[in-house]
Amino acid sequence: MNARVEIPAQAEHRALPPTTHDEFARQEFVRAFKEHLVKHVHGGNRAVYESKVKPAFQRKHKRAPKTRFEVRDEMVREPYYQMFSTLLRTSQEMMWSSCQIPVARDLEALNQTIKKPKKKKALGSLTLNPELPTPKYHTAVDIHCQPGGYHSEFMAEDASAGMVYDRAVHVYAMGQMGPYNNDMGASIVMWLKKHHPEFKPKRILDLGCSVGHSTVPYAEAFPDAEVHAIDVAAPMLRYAHARAEDMGVRVHYSQQNAECTSFADGSFDLIVSHILLHETSQSAINNIVKECHRLLAKGGMMIHAETPPYKGMDPFDAFLLDWDTRNNNEPFWARSHEIELKALSKQGGFDPALEFEDLIPSAFQVAQATRSHKFQGGDFGGGGLWFIYGNRK
């Protein structure tokens, strides 16, 4: 048994559901299971492809596979890929289950904690809208296999989806998003400070914020800014509000659909989203970019973090990156990775010439490297990188 590389534990706060010894051990197992798949099993797919599947395809067709679909048709018959896939799917199901157990054990009491903040006077706010319809792209399937999705409530004023999610993000990312799961937001902040040091947003909006793990770094980095964050799911927002208050960070959360918000034209200098776009739909993604254009003040910036588009990607890499589309309840994943981003900007009212795309370093990985004097990148987030897409008004 090898010595373990140090992985930071998730930072505790009042809203995070406590775990018993065995509950924690069970979650740690899933985290290790996922890490093992990433480090020791995932790569075998390429070995099988290069040594067996691709040569067989070349012999038959006198050329290499050109598209991820051609790769898929061959790979799905490979026992190695079948075993990898069934293990990965199982790890995802075990992750949700292990994170549900401590929540289900004490649901009522945990919801009471969420409802009653530590301090009487709240820093930020929570505005829910029970009339807001849950969009189809949330109800068609439960996204990334979280049972009940983001929106389901299992008792009155329930925040369980958020409790389960906050813990699951830590397990899913194998701790590689930092003790506060805030790496996506923190990385964009780091990128902004480096590339746009003059940019001092006064009003910031985070779209599809879920538990606000990516929202908080903006409030911390721009303490004078008014930070708003929206989501369609009330259970997530209840948790997000309690979490931010526990952390002593001022964020205004409201239940709204990013396609059509209630904010006035030109309300924000910075609008961000973090792996939101691929959870929506073709019409929604267009609407969201249009809404960003309406909400931005002149000179304002929108930045969306995603995984990289398939364009120009090796068909095998695209095939593996596409795994989640059919196997992890991410129906819009494939299509959203093929959207022409300049055209998306343009239909939203932005100038395609101002469109930018970048692979940005992970703030957490950079901090880790500084501490340990070596780059200990894992595979998650493209080995310590995030893809961003954005535009300016």
Partner: protein
């Protein structure tokens, strides 16, 4: 450890299966579920040992160097045998069936009970009791 009925257990959406026989996927899922619970037990035992050592009750090195006496070894052997019999029941029942002559096809039982239906009565004079 059961989640019980408070939260939803299954994520909405058709569950993919990857092997030609979906039961292979199901068995893998069970094996990993068991592996997870073994890891939980391992951590619990580890905690126990560390706590006992910290309290001075047990030295962990004395666990490693523990040699079961003949009596303890015999007790454990009996336990292991029983344990394996439980786990490998499915294999042992085949031999048991052969030993007891319990080899008839299941269909024969169905046939036997179905054909046991009351036969249409012949209108004949009742037999005289002998």
């Amino acid at each position: 450890m059961s989640v019980g009925s408070k939260l939803k257990r299954k994520a909405k959406g058709e569950r993919p299966y990857f092997f030609d026989d979906p039961n292979v996927d199901r068995v893998v899922s069970m094996v990993m579920g068991l592996a997870g619970e073994v890891a939980v037990l391992h951590d619990r035992l580890d905690t126990l040992e560390r706590l006992l050592e910290a309290q001075g009750s047990v030295q962990r090195s004395s666990i490693d160097s523990y040699k079961p006496s003949a009596a303890v070894a015999a007790e454990r052997a009996v336990w292991r045998e029983g344990y394996l019999s439980e786990v490998l029941r499915i294999v042992e029942i085949e031999v048991e069936a052969l030993a007891t002559g319990d080899t008839a096809k299941y269909d024969s039982a169905i046939k036997a009970v179905e054909q046991d239906a009351p036969k249409p009565r012949k209108k004949s004079t009742p037999r005289k009791k002998s």
